[in-house]
Subunit: 293 residues, 2 copies
DNA sequence: CGCTTCCATGAGCGCTGTTCATGGAAGCGG
DNA sequence: CCGCTTCCATGAACAGCGCTCATGGAAGCG
């Protein structure tokens, strides 16, 4: 017997919330309906999907598989709906879930989403901010919680994950320092947690004029603010320095400057969907203010 | 409103058969049910999916998208079902659809499927034979008609297709000739249509002792039979010559012999499914008789 | 001008998925 | 030890959907 989309949504909600009652609340259903639904699903599959206990419901191994694949099914059904409508000249209406690390979200997404919304008013977005460490944003896509991941390239993802993607932006790093500092290069160095690519790290070590970093900051706006207050200098991607305060001066690092490349990753069926193609096209548009090019 | 699995199966059948009534027959439904179902689906999507005429039903652009994505949804739902059952220690029961070219199907599949069926009696298979030209077997996977494609590597598929895969078998070509021939290398050359990779073609041209092919045969068993009857000699992959008649003698071509590599391709979600993993594991087992290693 | 072959439509009916009401089990605090 | 709360389970009843049956209309074909 077939599972229904409603049943899959129940599985998803139960896994997310960790309990039948909480899942019922988020789905605007009765706890009873959730219980019946899960039970029915389990009967259809011939398998127990959740261990129920005092603490709520925890997925069994079978439940984990079901939830994972179920999210894929739901997403694909939405792609079907949105794509079929778009193909017949209708409005493009779907919800795009974007996982990005903070600096990319702040710099890349606003102009792109503005333009995209102008062209397709029915589109809506979920932007989740994920620390770009470990699997980072790509994991969100692999596990079905996001449709598009913004990543730092090169991204050595396990090929078996089967994600597809491309390049969005390639830019050099620049040096920023307080405008009023008499000898900028004598200032202490403030490092940024996201400066973690091996290439960048190697470049840092090769620069003998750079002191070791005395401060390490996770957030780029905090870092900019620190430089503006004269705490030190920093090496950051060009676009991060683009919307700087007047107290911060930018100094190019020349042709040998390290670069950072931002790309995107998504799943093959989504990469073929109209909505995601449109989004990627907009992300490739000019995100950097013209005066900095 | 959600589409149901039954509705997606109707879309698939209508596209396949080209008419509502034929689809109804294959699905064991009434024509009325199919008509109602398609109408309901169209209402849910707000789009016309098929152009109806006396010639039956032809998909509109929107319909094509819907059918394509719908097949993906159905397949993913079956993966969910099979995977969840397998994860809870149950029998692995699903239908695996394999697209292969003839020689690979004949040589690689029988032993692998025998072993796999022994371990998982509930598995069933659809093996479709596709000429390995153009998109070949990979197209079957991309368009959702097969789960696993057996391909000749290297396979330059468009990366946007987002298929994943791996290597299954790497083997040298050998020379075969009639056993009773006094001077085998003076015989005419029989070529095989599937000897089409650029690498193999280049090797052929570089061999000055090889006469140009006078006969070109599409089927490898026919080719073997021709050699057995003394019509000529041929250069074929080792496994093709493995189950030869006694009238055929095999002669290695040495370390410079061209090789053929057979691999598989599948979609990312399927590559994560238990059933397909098991199948690939068996395909990687020793398909070549030990006396030829 | 029937005949056949398409698809469309309305009525009726059974199944499924929901709510409501209720019950049982298990921690938590006095 | 006993309520109180917070989980999930279960049975009854009802609504909507998805099916069949029966019928009708439109268009090619000899």
């Amino acid at each position: 017997m077939d599972l229904t989309a409603a049943e899959l949504r129940v599985l998803d909600a139960v896994e997310r919330t960790g309990s039948f009652s909480a899942a019922a609340a988020t789905l605007d259903l009765t706890q009873s309906a959730v219980s019946h639904s899960v039970r029915m699903t389990e009967r259809k599959l011939g398998t127990v999907l959740f261990d129920r206990g005092r603490h709520g419901a925890r997925p069994t191994p079978a439940g984990e598989r079901a939830v994972l694949h179920g999210r894929g099914v739901l997403r694909l059904m939405d792609v079907l709906r949105a794509d079929a409508r778009a193909a017949s000249g209708g409005e493009l209406d779907t919800r795009l879930r974007i996982a990005a690390f903070r600096s990319a979200a702040a710099q890349l997404l606003p102009p792109a989403l503005t333009r995209l919304t102008a062209r397709h008013p029915q589109l809506s977005y979920d932007v989740s901010i994920v620390r770009d460490v470990g699997g980072g944003t790509a994991t969100e896509v692999v596990e079905g919680r996001a449709d598009l991941a913004i990543v730092n390239l090169p991204h050595r993802l396990p090929a078996s994950a089967g994600l597809v993607g491309g390049e969005l932006l390639d830019e050099p790093y620049v040096l920023i320092h307080p405008t009023r500092s008499p000898d900028p290069r004598s200032l202490p160095l403030i490092d940024w947690t996201e400066n973690c690519s091996t290439e960048t790290q190697a470049w840092f070590r090769a620069q003998d004029w750079l002191p070791p970093a005395t401060i390490n900051v996770a957030d780029d706006t905090v870092l900019l603010s620190m430089v503006a207050h004269g705490l030190g200098m920093a090496v950051v991607p060009e676009t991060t320095a683009a919307d700087r305060a007047p107290e911060v001066t930018v100094e190019p690092l020349g042709p040998t400057a390290p670069r950072r490349t931002i790309g995107y990753l998504t799943t093959p069926p989504l990469s073929r969907s109209t909505a995601l193609r449109e989004l990627v096209a907009e992300l490739r548009g000019p995100p950097v203010p013209l005066d900095r090019r």
